[in-house]
C-alpha cells in the first residue's frame, strides 16, 4: 500500500515527513533542486484498510504547479487584435521549474494507491491541491477523486500534524472553482488592458523617463520594455493613494473657533475644560455663545456632573495577518511584504503558526498556557526579554496580572487560528534581523492577549457656564498589566483634576474664545493603505503586500521617507491613469474598490455553490469587453489627461 503526499513547500514536506515518520525518513532527489522526496512508513491513515504501516512518499511543489496563458503562437503580443483575448482559448503552461516539479509528481504518483494533499489550507492552496491531483491522475488513472484526500492543518506541531493525518477531508471544489474564476478574469482583463495601455502610453512615458534621466544625470538605461499594466486589484490600490494625494492637493485650510475655560486650584494648578460643542466654523456663532455666557453667568460656573469610575484599556484581540502587517508597518517600520515574508519563514521554520489567517478568536479547547510556559523558558540559560513576564503570567506567585482567556473577535475563516508563537527562541535560532523583529512582535502580542486589561480610574467633570457645557477628564493608571509586555500601546496617568462636587459653584479663572485652522491629512502610509485595502476587500491577507509592491514596481507610486515616517506618493503616471479613466467615464470606476468588492462577492457565491464558474466568468468578462471597447475609442483622452496631469504636477 503506497500513499503519495504533496505539500506546498519543501520545508513543510520535510517537517511533516519527520513527524509522521517518527523521526526517521529517507530523502532523495526529485529532479528539481529545491524539492526533495521523503520516504517513510506511517500507520494511521484511515483510508488504508489493511493493518500495519504503509509506505509513504512525501514531496512538494513550489507554489502553483501550472499557470494559464494564451497560446503565444497565435495570441502573443502584437500577433492578434487585443479584444480577441476576451474569447481566446487558454493553455496550461509550465515554466522550466514547474515542468520538473510536475514530472516528479507524475513519476511518484504512478505506483501510488492514494494521494493526500498537504497544501496550505486557504483558497489558493485548495486550487494548488487540485492542480496536483490533476497532474497525478494523468499518470495513474486509478487515482480517482475517491482516492484523493486533503489534510487540514494550520501549524507544524507534532500532535497537530499526526491528528491531521488521521482525519483527512476532501478537496473543496467550490474554492477551487472560485480561484479558477479569479485567475481567468484577472488574466483576460489584465492582459487586454495592459496591452492597450502600454501601446497607448508607452511613448509618453519613455519620453518622460529620458527627460528625467538627463535632468538627474542618472545612468539609467533607457527602458525599452516599459509596461503599463492593469490589474483588478492593482488599480484600486493605486486609487487609494491617488485619492489621498488629491485630497491634500485640493485642501483649503479653514479657520474654526472654540471657547476654552480654565479653572485654577491651589493643589492642581490650571485645568482646562473643553467645550462640548467642539469647534465651530463660524466666528459670529461662537462669539454669540461667548457673549451670552458672560452676560448670563459672569465668571461663575456650576458643576453639573462628576463621573468617577473604573476604566480599562483593552488588551489586543488575537492576531490576524492584516493586523500583523499593519502593526509591523506602524511600529517596526517594516513594509507589508517584509513582514509577511518574515512571517512565512518563521512558519516554515516552526516558530509561529500559519501566518495567513483572518481569524481573531482562539478555539475554545486550545492549550494557551503551555505556549506561555514555553515562552517562560524556565529551563534555558539565555532567555528572551519577555520570558520573565511570561513566567509571572502563569505562575502561582502573587500579582494581579495572571493568565486570562483572550478576547474573541468576530472573524473566523474556519481554516486557521490567530497567529501565535509555537516554540521559543533558543540560542541557536537562525533568524534574520527582520524575522527576529516579527517573531518578537507576534510573541508580545500573544502574551498581551492572554493578560489582563490595563486598569485605571477616570474622572470626568462637567461644568455649566451660562448654559454651555464644558468637560475635563483625568486618568489614573492603577494596573499596567498587558502594557508591560506590549510597549506599543500608550496609556498614561494624566494631570489630576480639581476635587469638585455636584452643584458646587466655582469661579472661572479664564474664559477665552480661541481659534485654530484645519490642516491637510498626512500622505498615505503603508499601514493606512493596508487597512483601507482590507476594509474594502481589495486583496487577501496574502496578496495585499504583493499589490502594494506591484504599484511601486510599475512606477505608479513611489515611497518617500520624511523623517522617521515613510509615505506613499503617486507618480505623474499613477495620477494620470486614475484621472484618465475617470475622464473616459466607464460605468464601473477602475480606481475605486467597488467593482472588485462586487467580484469578491460573486467568488464567494461560487465557493458556496450558489453560482457556477461559467456564469460569473461570462458576466464579468462581458463587462470588461465593453469597457475595453470604450477605452479603445478614448485613447486620446488618456493622452490628453497625461499631458494635463504632467503640467499640473511639475
Amino acid at each position: 500500500m503506497k500513499v503519495l503526499c504533496v505539500a506546498e513547500k519543501n520545508s513543510i514536506a520535510k517537517a511533516v515527513s519527520q513527524t509522521l515518520g517518527g523521526g526517521s525518513c529517507n530523502a532523495r532527489d526529485s529532479g528539481y533542486m529545491y524539492v526533495k522526496n521523503y520516504d517513510f512508513n506511517f500507520e494511521g491513515f484511515p483510508f488504508v484498510q489493511e493493518a500495519g504501516s504503509c509506505q509513504v512518499t512525501m514531496t512538494s511543489v513550489a507554489g502553483h504547479l501550472t499557470g494559464i496563458d494564451f497560446p503565444n503562437e497565435r495570441y502573443g503580443w502584437g500577433k492578434c487584435r487585443i479584444d480577441e483575448l476576451f474569447d481566446a482559448p487558454l493553455n496550461e503552461v509550465f515554466d522550466k521549474n514547474q515542468k520538473r516539479i510536475a514530472d516528479n509528481i507524475r513519476k511518484e504518483a504512478r505506483n501510488s494507491n492514494f494521494l493526500m494533499i498537504w497544501t496550505d489550507c486557504d483558497r489558493e492552496g485548495e486550487y494548488i491541491g487540485w492542480e496536483i491531483s490533476r497532474e497525478a491522475s494523468r499518470n495513474n488513472s486509478r487515482l480517482t477523486s475517491g482516492h484523493i484526500y486533503r489534510a487540514v492543518f494550520s501549524h507544524l506541531e507534532r500532535r497537530h500534524i499526526i491528528d491531521a493525518a488521521k482525519r483527512p477531508q476532501r478537496l473543496d471544489m467550490g474554492s477551487v472553482n472560485a480561484v479558477g474564476t479569479r485567475i481567468e478574469i484577472d488574466l483576460r482583463a489584465g492582459v487586454t488592458f495592459t496591452r492597450l495601455l502600454t501601446e497607448t502610453m508607452r511613448n509618453k512615458v519613455s519620453t518622460t523617463s529620458v527627460e528625467n534621466s538627463h535632468h538627474n544625470n542618472s545612468n539609467r538605461k533607457k527602458d525599452v520594455s516599459t509596461v503599463i499594466s492593469y490589474g483588478t486589484c492593482q488599480f484600486p490600490t493605486l486609487g487609494f493613494v491617488v485619492d489621498r494625494f488629491e485630497r491634500i492637493r485640493n485642501f483649503i485650510a479653514e479657520e474654526f473657533w472654540y471657547i476654552q475655560l480654565e479653572l485654577e486650584s491651589s493643589e492642581n494648578g490650571m485645568t482646562a475644560f473643553a467645550w462640548e460643542r467642539g469647534n465651530l466654523f463660524d466666528r459670529l456663532a461662537v462669539f454669540t455663545f461667548y457673549e451670552n455666557c458672560i452676560e448670563l453667568a459672569g465668571n461663575r460656573a456650576k458643576v453639573v456632573d462628576v463621573k468617577s469610575r473604573p476604566t480599562s484599556k483593552y488588551r489586543p484581540l488575537p492576531l490576524t495577518t492584516v493586523e500583523l502587517q499593519k502593526n509591523c508597518a506602524r511600529f517596526l517600520k517594516l513594509n507589508a511584504k517584509q513582514s509577511l515574508d518574515a512571517a512565512e519563514k518563521l512558519y516554515q521554520k516552526g516558530f509561529i503558526s500559519y501566518p495567513r489567517t483572518e481569524t481573531d478568536a482562539f478555539p475554545q479547547n486550545m492549550n494557551l498556557r503551555s505556549l506561555i510556559e514555553k515562552q517562560a523558558q524556565l529551563d534555558q540559560e539565555s532567555r528572551s526579554s519577555w520570558a520573565n513576564y511570561a513566567a509571572q503570567l502563569v505562575s502561582s506567585s502573587p500579582g494581579s496580572n495572571k493568565f486570562k482567556t483572550p478576547r474573541n473577535g468576530s472573524h473566523d475563516d474556519k481554516a486557521h487560528p490567530p497567529i501565535h508563537p509555537i516554540i521559543s527562541l533558543g540560542r541557536q535560532a537562525n533568524l534574520s534581523r527582520v524575522e527576529h523583529q516579527v517573531y518578537e512582535y507576534v510573541t508580545r502580542h500573544f502574551l498581551a492577549c492572554c493578560s489582563e486589561d490595563a486598569k485605571g480610574h477616570s474622572t470626568t467633570l462637567s461644568l455649566d457656564w451660562g448654559g454651555e457645557r464644558f468637560t475635563a477628564t483625568g486618568l489614573v493608571v492603577l494596573e499596567r498589566n498587558f502594557l508591560d509586555v506590549y510597549p506599543w500601546a500608550k496609556w498614561e496617568t494624566s494631570k489630576r483634576l480639581p476635587q469638585l462636587e455636584i452643584n458646587q459653584q466655582c469661579q472661572i479663572s479664564k474664559a477665552r474664545m480661541k481659534s485654530g485652522t484645519t490642516s491637510p491629512p498626512k500622505p498615505m502610509t503603508e499601514s493606512e493603505l493596508i487597512m483601507l485595502m482590507d476594509a474594502n476587500g481589495i486583496g487577501t491577507d496574502a496578496t495585499i503586500a504583493e499589490h502594494i509592491e506591484k504599484i511601486q514596481t510599475r512606477n505608479y507610486v513611489r515611497s518617500e521617507k520624511v523623517g522617521k515616517e515613510t509615505y506613499l506618493q503617486p507618480t505623474t503616471l499613477g495620477v494620470a491613469l486614475v484621472h484618465g479613466f475617470e475622464a473616459i467615464g466607464l460605468e464601473d470606476s477602475f480606481a475605486k474598490p467597488f467593482q472588485r468588492r462586487e467580484m469578491e462577492v460573486e467568488l464567494k457565491q461560487i465557493c458556496d455553490g450558489l453560482r457556477t464558474k461559467g456564469q460569473v466568468v461570462d458576466d464579468i468578462v462581458n463587462k470588461y469587453r465593453r469597457y475595453w471597447a470604450k477605452t479603445n475609442e478614448s485613447k486620446n483622452t488618456l493622452l490628453q489627461v497625461y499631458d494635463r496631469v504632467k503640467a499640473s504636477m511639475s
Binding site: V241, R247, L280, N292, E295, T517, A535, N536, K592
Partner: protein, 226 residues
C-alpha cells in the same frame, strides 16, 4: 394660515384681511399674531450694537438660508459631491453612503474595535450648531443659531416658517433658538429649493476660494481675538 406659511412673507401685506378671526384655531391665532407683531427694530442702535436683549413678543420669520457651522466647508462639499456622483467620491477615508460603502480612515491610535461609525456620525451631527438667515415680513434679514438640538434644522426646506417666542435671546444681530422657545411651522418656497444641493455646493466652494485667496494675500486669515 397657508397664506402665510406657503408664501414669501415679505410679499404678504400686513395686517391680513381675515373675515372672522374668532373662528380661527388657537394655533392659527398664534401664527397670525406673530406675523402681525411689530418686526424687530433695525436701530438705532445698529444691530451690531444691540447687546443681549430678550424678545417681548412672538415674531414670525421665514428661513432663507441654513448653514452647518459644525462641519468644515470642505467636508460638506465632499459629502455633496459624493451624493451627486458616488463614483467620484474619494475613497481614502470612510463615509457610509447609501449604496457604495467606503471604509473609514480609522483612527489608528485607538486600539478599541471600531464602533458603529455611522451611528457616531449621526450622534455628533445631532449636536451640530446651524447658522440661519431669517427674513421678516418687512424683508429685513437677521442671523440665528440654535443652542439646543433642533432636529428639523437638518431637513427643513428653505422658505419654511418659524416663530421665535417671547423671552428668546437676541445679541448683536443674532437670535438664539432654543427649545421650547421656537416653533417650527413648515412651509416651503419652491424656487429657493430647486437644486438646493448644487447651489449649496457652489456657495461653499466660493467661500473656500475666498479663504484660499485670503491666505495667499495675507499669509493667514487669523484675525486678532476680540
Amino acid at each position: 394660515m397657508s397664506t402665510i406659511i406657503f408664501q414669501d412673507i415679505s410679499q404678504v401685506p400686513s395686517p391680513l384681511q381675515i373675515n372672522n378671526r374668532s373662528t380661527l384655531s388657537s394655533r392659527d391665532l398664534k401664527i397670525l399674531e406673530a406675523f402681525e407683531n411689530e418686526p424687530w427694530d433695525l436701530g438705532p442702535p445698529a444691530l451690531v450694537d444691540q447687546k443681549f436683549t430678550r424678545l417681548n413678543r412672538d415674531l414670525l420669520f421665514q428661513i432663507v438660508m441654513v448653514e452647518n457651522t459644525s462641519k468644515s466647508k470642505l467636508n460638506q462639499v465632499d459629502d455633496i459631491r459624493a451624493k451627486l456622483d458616488p463614483n467620484l467620491q474619494r475613497v481614502d477615508r470612510l463615509k457610509t453612503t447609501r449604496d457604495r460603502v467606503v471604509i473609514n480612515q480609522v483612527d489608528i491610535d485607538k486600539d478599541e474595535p471600531t464602533s458603529d461609525s455611522a451611528g457616531m456620525a449621526a450622534y455628533s451631527q445631532s449636536k451640530a450648531v446651524f447658522k440661519l438667515v431669517l427674513q421678516d415680513r418687512k424683508g429685513s434679514l437677521f442671523y440665528a443659531i440654535n443652542s439646543s438640538p433642533l432636529p428639523w434644522l437638518q431637513v427643513c426646506m428653505l422658505g419654511s416658517k418659524v416663530i421665535i417666542k417671547k423671552g428668546s435671546i437676541f445679541n448683536r444681530g443674532v437670535f438664539v433658538l432654543q427649545e421650547p422657545n421656537v416653533l417650527f411651522l413648515g412651509g416651503i418656497n419652491r424656487a429657493w429649493n430647486e437644486n438646493r444641493d448644487g447651489k449649496l455646493c457652489e456657495y461653499l466652494e466660493c467661500k473656500l476660494q475666498r479663504d484660499a485667496e485670503d491666505v495667499k494675500l495675507n499669509g493667514s486669515r487669523k484675525r486678532k481675538n476680540p
